[in-house]
Symmetry: D2
Subunit: 353 residues, 4 copies
């Protein structure tokens, strides 16, 4: 069964393996006459690409996006928009150890169980590299959302055990860990460096905010705004949890404490609900947090099993992100943009007029 | 745009308002020749229905399920299976106050923003009552999963500020709060009673376990097992967050600590990942937790706004669940069953043979 | 795999067996605030119901439609709209002969091959009775289309070997065979009577016209307007073919003869294309014809096989339509309305503005 | 709304314009471990490509297929399979006349009405060139069907006014018009030449046969085998009609004449139904015919209108197929293969065991 498509009207279908020939996306459902901004799309990919800092893997990929269809005279045509990134360091590695051995925390074992074999080169389809296609699609969604005044910002609120505050929405692009708290960015960076120095890795928590979202987005019963965002976020391999507004904290409050009070003009005095009531946007800021696990690829030798399910040891060589958080930030934004853009288009048929 | 359908092969479409004529579900994609067990389906609905204990609303609904199609000679026919529950106390109430006033924490405001008006009787389509249709569908999914040896159990791990342990999977059906920890059940019950006595409400955390799930379920990239479960759970109006395995805790661990070690026979020594790697089941137990917010309907007088967006006060009369946790437990199980059943059927086309 | 759903935004899901408890439909995606006209819906069902004339089966079903959800204060709410018809003569018949014998031209054999058994009562799910649910859904679609000025009319152009002309779009509702040609209606009626008198049946050709359809409907590449209409029509059990505009005749013309010339104001001088170019409506009348096979249930004794694949004879008793054409006319209209309504809603997201 | 995806489990999504950078397809849902045969796929594309004979346009495109993902060690991986063809004569032409003028019989006008503008280079997305992506996907479907013993053959039964018989299923690959009747192939060829010599074009009728299709394929109610094939065929721009088995002829027969008699072993004595009863395959040959219109691009000067809806004359220069029938034959086969392959995979979840 197919699982490489996401969205209902703004519908993306992605393809590509980490070390295959190319990765890419077809977006079906882009409205015609959107001003296409390839530079912006490339800039979003640059925010995700490897090798931006010592926080990230040194794999050298330019991640240059190329448009195959759907754009004419610099406007979208309304037909399927295809974009691709050709992989550069395609055939360069020796994968003999991971070909026959299951890496802990990766999809090697489960892919073999599911399909009977797998493309083991760099994780194949299960590699985080597939998220580049999401970022490209998300950038197109952002171009559309911009016309509606919707703005999306994600950033780190914690790295390992170092927590920050949500101080400045513009901060994440100004520090290498992409933290909202400029005061804690250095300490977060040290947390990563400390793990990296032992060949280990750390995770973190990413918050995402969407401002300017009109009220009325989200489709009851199953396609609630928060349900679709949760779907989108948990489809990222390294995300292990999500919470909206005050999230798990809400479970400890009383109803009278947790309820956000409506005030004049249909605003809410507080936003514990995270901008969603009954699965539909309130018109306030959409807010959620996701838990990002530490990269499972650590260079410390680990006990594991091989293809014959016999125990063995594995030492993963090569360069891996000691912390994926900074690079997942634009991916979280992209998936948020895809969900919101889809729901904006869905909302066009909510009423007779 | 339509949002009342969930699932790809085992596909459910639900309908019905809280105080409309009936609620129900069509399940399309039930394989033929499943032994149909109406008593079991009814027993699942009985676990969800109101009036089971003082924990729950006293609304008196028998929630008697009736089969309209898709079953012949006590077996499923392979065609669309329709089930309905006729509402009993349909026209009995006076809704004049909530017709023109927005209840805090409810979908009243957002439905009006989306659709221009709403069925205000008991929340209409946004009422938790719609989950009865999910439980009916989930019971059919459980009948299928049973044939594969899959067993699903949910229960409370905390109620308000009272936390318990996961002590006994059979415990939830033996105490009124449906806690896994029999030692804490009484204290949890007192937590609810304490809130109820002030006209207030409490939330909690529900854990869910699926045992016997074969490895290989889940569809990369977007329809990962955990992504679909997150979608399913966040489509419940009172759920504000979800985490798989150690969830948010993972964000604070190092990779070497968080990785689960593969051991002989393809087992995992630990299950921090919650039974899912790369979005595909490992063959170990599927584990996740959801945050349930306190019921927003409290009988304490609240400040809010009316349809004209003018401030006013609202006093919600009538009987509401002071804690929805015990009743959401079978709903969480049902949605889990629907996801797993769908993925089991999807997996039938994963390989050529 | 599920096949009981049709449409993308205006999405219908139907259920029900010929002699089960009820048949019905959930329409998901009806825009909010449509004025709901139950009398009109009932009148459409009355056009399809059995027993209208000697042309049709004498099965006595009132086909009274009942609304279960999705309508409030006589307007659609935007949430799933469920409608049902309870079957009346549910348990009345003796099916022992068709339970174990395969009727020629019916789905008895193929259902058994597919599902291993079948609900044999009156054809179960494969009965033409399921089309009542389509007519109900189509009536809602017509209510929407009316707001856009779209009008759909179907009628017979031939019955057996008797052909008529397209003389008067209002004629079909004025003669029992629902012919467009009032001058040939009597002869068509005699054609049916002649077959009926021998216990035999006849088919015919139905034409359908949609006027007022704006240009721009239809979604390239796969969801072309004509592709969706063909899907819709061939999903009717008795339809064996479809042609748009001059259809098969086009295959015998030269390009210069077949092309319709554009004239001032974007009109077409002729309409050989049937109102569709490149799968998108031109703004001219949509025109197509469908071939309806003679009802396979004839009371003449037939050779066939039984469940054990042994040859036997079968004499079908009871009252069957000697010609289904008059009753399929409202069904053809209904499916056309569903397709056009869906595409009208789809078109709302074709462009940025 | 998106319309570039077709299929439920074996799901194809295509992209690309006639004179854009590339055209291609992502197939999601290919089962893992299919032996991938790129040469076969290329050979199918070669059957469709332009320039094979004087029957077809001289546009010189090698149509070399390239695999981007989804294949590893010459087997399908189970993840999305992407294939592309880079366009060669991309920027070569002068389109000034068709940029501002609407070609008769083409989608120029309707695309402008729908999207507000269009990629006019060679028809852009509405060009028949998009069918190359379908042929590539269909070839993969054929590889799967081969494993099940299903074989699909299409060919011409008439060209313009010249009709042939279904004499030899292997004949079509042996004559330039791809006729089933070797005795009429020369006359058909002359029919094309005669039209071409006047700058005109001819259409024809194509028949398609699928042998070896097991009984039980097709999903009631809406996704009947014939409904899906009709959808698939009418999604081809030049197809104006379809009929199954005896098709429109059935409308003139009596029921007793039209019914196919079941005989021992579940065979049918005749196959007037075209291999489908109640939308489900009988196990006999699937048979249908499609009407192909004459290519609208004729070099005769035509009256038409321009972008301002003013009348003007248009003379289309360049090389166009005087008859598209020979090249549509592999496309008809491809779409048939895609439908049957999808339904074969769907059938895997029809029953509990």
């Amino acid at each position: 069964m197919s699982g490489n498509t996401f969205g209902k009207i703004f519908k993306i279908t992605t393809f590509g393996e980490s070390h295959g020939r190319a990765i890419g996306v077809i977006i079906d459902g882009v409205p015609a006459q959107l001003d296409f901004d390839l530079d912006f799309i490339q800039s979003e990919l640059d925010r995700r690409k490897p090798g931006q800092s010592k926080m990230t893997t040194a794999r050298s990929e330019a991640d240059k996006i190329e448009v195959m269809s759907g754009v004419f005279e610099n406007k979208t045509t309304g037909t399927s928009l295809a974009m691709m990134i050709f992989n550069q360091d395609q055939h360069s590695k020796d994968y003999s150890n991971i070909a026959s051995t299951y890496r802990s925390g990766h999809a090697d074992f489960t892919y073999d169980m599911k399909y009977g074999f797998r493309d083991y080169r760099g994780g194949g389809r299960s590699s985080g590299r597939e998220t580049a296609a999401r970022v490209a699609a998300g950038a197109v969604a952002k171009l559309i959302l911009r016309q509606y005044g919707v703005n999306i910002t994600a950033g780190a609120v914690s790295i390992g055990n170092v927590c920050g505050e949500i101080i400045d929405l513009s901060a994440p692009e100004k520090n290498v860990v992409r933290a909202f708290d400029p005061n804690m960015a250095d300490e977060m960076e040290r947390e990563v460096a400390s793990a990296a120095s032992c060949g280990d890795s750390v995770g973190g928590v990413v918050a995402c905010f969407a401002d300017g979202v009109p009220s009325g987005l989200g489709e009851p019963v199953f396609d609630k705004l928060d349900a679709l965002l949760a779907h989108a976020m948990l489809s990222l391999g390294s995300v292990k949890g999500i919470e909206f507004g005050n999230g798990f904290e809400a479970s400890r409050l009383r109803g009278s404490e947790n309820n956000d009070r409506f005030i004049a003009d249909g605003k809410l005095e507080t936003n514990r609900c995270g901008g969603v009531l009954g699965g539909i946007s309130t018109g306030s800021r959409i807010e959620f947090k996701v838990a990002v696990k530490p990269t499972p690829s650590v260079s410390i030798e680990q006990q594991t099993i091989d293809k014959n399910l016999q125990e063995c040891t594995l030492k993963i060589n090569g360069r891996h992100d000691p912390c994926i958080v900074p690079r997942i930030v634009p991916v979280v934004e992209a998936m948020t943009a895809i969900v919101l853009c889809d729901l904006l288009l869905c909302a066009r048929s909510s009423r007779m007029k």
